[in-house]
């Protein structure tokens, strides 16, 4: 795992959504920790359970959802807490940045009021000092003309500026943990680059801990120290960023890397992962990826592979065939 003291520890997390068609297992037996000051990327396709994991940590899952396991933030257990205590704790210590700033900002409130609210609520600042602090925050996230932006409504802003406002809100209480769920997916490339740079700079300045959730491996290469790869509610591989990009062992990670179109390599045919992820209603037996894996063998269909250490420190991979894939076509292609 990490050599830094853990800020966040998630153990055996299970999240199940009851639906009319039956229970959907969004997250199954997820265990990981995030060290203080660390920047961790959680990668997965839609339906992999990455957002459900984030919502479980921040306590934003609806009450109808059943959840088990343990989530500890700075050593305190969050799962048993009542709603009020939990809100108090998470409000002050966890900052959330959502994918779509258009729908997560309140359209009927000025941006300024939305930043002031948590400051008054969680830090108990006076009206005047909350306003001063909010203006500082707007300036810090690179909002042009903070004083004017303070009194504007979100619809007057471009996507990039809205995301800056979201970041200002998330940072307002100086949270120890920032969770960013697809922070740049809705943005243009040049704005995406600005926002990623901003996140990296702010984390470095305040020594904040960052958990970034995305489906885009490109975004994480320059931002994360460590990567967790999720598929169908399980972590299939985790490790330091260089290790995941250059020495990944799990066929799913390799397939994900091979499916990315990129501009820094000679053009070659994309190799899509055939098929679709399982539905969550009916989880495949054994390894969750076996239905799409090019290397599937007998044991993959019957036994769930454990997350076992690889050669690099901190590298763990859940695959029965890890380390035995050398020379197989997908493996060779994805590495080059």
């Amino acid at each position: 795992m990490s050599d830094r003291p853990a800020l966040l520890e998630v153990r055996d997390l299970r999240v199940t959504f009851p639906t009319r068609a039956g229970d959907v297992h969004a997250v199954s037996d997820v265990t990981f920790s995030v060290g203080r000051g660390e920047r961790v990327g959680l990668v997965g396709e839609s339906g992999s359970g990455k957002t459900a994991t984030a919502l479980a940590i921040s306590g934003l899952l609806p009450q109808s959802v059943s959840m088990s396991g343990s989530i500890r933030l700075t050593g305190r257990e969050l799962t048993g807490l009542g709603r009020r205590d939990r809100r108090k704790l998470c409000g002050a210590h966890v900052g959330m940045i959502f994918q779509n700033p258009q729908s997560s900002l309140n359209p009927a409130m000025t941006v300024g009021r939305q930043i002031v609210e948590p400051l008054r609520l969680h830090l108990g600042l006076s009206r005047v000092s909350a306003r001063t602090r909010a203006l500082e925050l707007l300036d810090e996230v690179g909002m042009p003309a903070p004083a004017r932006s303070f009194d504007e409504y979100p619809h007057r802003f471009s996507g990039g500026m809205r995301q800056r406002a979201m970041i200002a809100m998330a940072l307002s209480c100086r949270p120890e943990l920032i969770i960013a769920d697809e922070p740049t997916t809705a943005l243009d490339v040049t704005i995406q680059a600005q926002i990623l740079e901003l996140l990296a700079r702010l984390c470095a300045e305040h020594d904040s801990t960052l958990l970034v959730i995305t489906h885009d491996l490109g975004v994480l290469a320059g931002l994360a120290d460590r990567i967790l790869v999720m598929y169908s509610g399980r972590i299939l591989e985790e490790g330091p960023v260089d290790c995941i990009y250059h020495r990944a062992l799990n066929p799913y990670t390799l397939a994900l890397l091979a499916a990315v179109s990129r501009i820094d390599r000679p053009l070659e045919k994309l190799r899509p992962i055939p098929g679709d992820p399982p539905s969550g209603l009916q989880m495949p037996s054994g390894c969750v990826f076996h239905t799409r894996c090019p290397h599937v063998t007998g044991i993959c269909r019957t036994e769930v592979p454990a997350l076992l250490p690889g050669a690099d420190p901190g590298h763990r991979c859940a695959c029965h065939l890890a380390g035995h894939l050398d020379g197989l076509p997908l493996d060779a292609g994805a590495r080059r």
Binding site: D188, V189, D216
Partner: protein
């Protein structure tokens, strides 16, 4: 390239800015597409790249006349698109189809897949009997990699990638020559994105389709296109073959765009120097008669404010950039 399938000449689209409720009046206009010319050959893919608000989707819709361009000429397959009356236009649209970005919003949730794919066949009177329609639907579903049993399901039971396949099957129903793809993979995950790109490639080879591929994602455009046009605030600022554009970008905006694309390579990312652009693209009056990129350009000089640089080819390959100082910025 033989004679082009599609030729767009100096197309312009201005939207009025309307104020007031009971006394609605136009107080000015925003020119979303400002004099764009391009050609597309048979079997060719032209990538049209730009950021939101640059006018790329407006241009795509103008070509189909889903919105009426304010000025310009559009010639498709030897016919003057803008001169067509309603009936001719309907006939013409058999040959040019569009695929939209959001497969969640572009399929009627109350129609079954069979009805969705059969709709264009019925509207354009392509098949005569029910049996014929059903057979063609099955054929189309197979063409895009869906199974016959999918025909009776509703869109909600499909993933994003599968829905986009349904959209493609619908577009192919009329056997078009040109597909306009407006951000067709932007709403999809990487793995379904790769599946759809591979599907589009295969369909092009099999059916000899021409694609106008509109996207903000440069890595996807590089993968699928033979030529690429870069748009900024309503104008094409650079036009080149794929390799020329990605290896030797000339316009500072193209260079900045390329330097902003994240690379899935941690080592490279750590040492990368990005060209940082100030602010965001905002259309305002000050850009008239000058270079539109001037206010954000790292190499702008006096002359850029005095007149607008034309889109000119510097070499025989047709690589053109609308810049007085092309290639001065270097990518790292």
């Amino acid at each position: 390239m033989t004679s082009p399938l599609l030729e767009v000449r100096d197309v312009r689209k201005a939207f009025p800015i309307v104020r007031g409720h009971s006394l609605r009046r136009s107080v000015g206009s925003i020119t979303a597409v400002d004099g764009v010319s391009l050609t597309l050959g048979t079997g060719e893919t032209l990538g049209l790249v730009g950021e939101s608000g640059c006018g790329k989707s407006t241009l795509a819709r103008c070509i189909l006349r889903l919105i009426e361009p304010t000025a310009g000429q559009i010639e498709f397959d030897g016919r003057d698109v803008l001169a067509c009356d309603k009936r001719e236009l309907r006939r013409l649209r058999r040959d040019m189809q569009i695929i939209f970005q959001d497969p969640y919003a572009s399929l009627n949730p109350r129609m079954r897949v069979e009805q969705l794919v059969a709709e264009p066949l019925v509207v354009h009177e392509i098949t005569a009997t029910r049996r014929e329609t059903r057979a063609r639907v099955t054929e189309l579903l197979q063409l895009v990699g869906l199974a016959e049993e999918h025909a009776d399901r509703y869109p909600h039971s499909f993933s994003g990638g599968q829905r986009q396949r349904i959209g493609i099957a619908r577009a192919l129903a009329t056997s078009p020559k040109l597909l306009i793809l407006d951000e067709p993979v932007s709403a999809l995950d990487v793995s379904s994105r790769a599946q759809i790109l591979a599907l589009l490639e295969g369909l092009q080879a099999r059916l000899g389709l021409s694609y106008l591929f509109v996207s903000h994602d440069l890595s996807v455009v590089r993968y699928i296109s033979q030529r690429v046009a870069v748009m900024y605030l309503g104008k094409i600022v650079e036009l080149a073959t794929r390799d020329a554009l990605f290896h030797h970008p000339q316009h500072p905006y193209t260079q900045a765009l390329l330097s902003a694309v994240p690379l899935p390579d941690p080592e490279h990312e750590r040492h990368r120097r990005r060209i940082r652009l100030k602010g965001e693209a905002t259309p305002d009056v000050s850009i008239i008669g000058s270079c539109r990129f001037r206010t954000r350009c790292p190499v702008a000089r006096q002359v850029c404010a005095e007149s607008e640089p034309p889109l000119e080819s510097a070499d025989a390959s047709g690589h053109a950039a609308a810049c007085y100082f092309p290639g001065t910025l270097h990518r790292t």
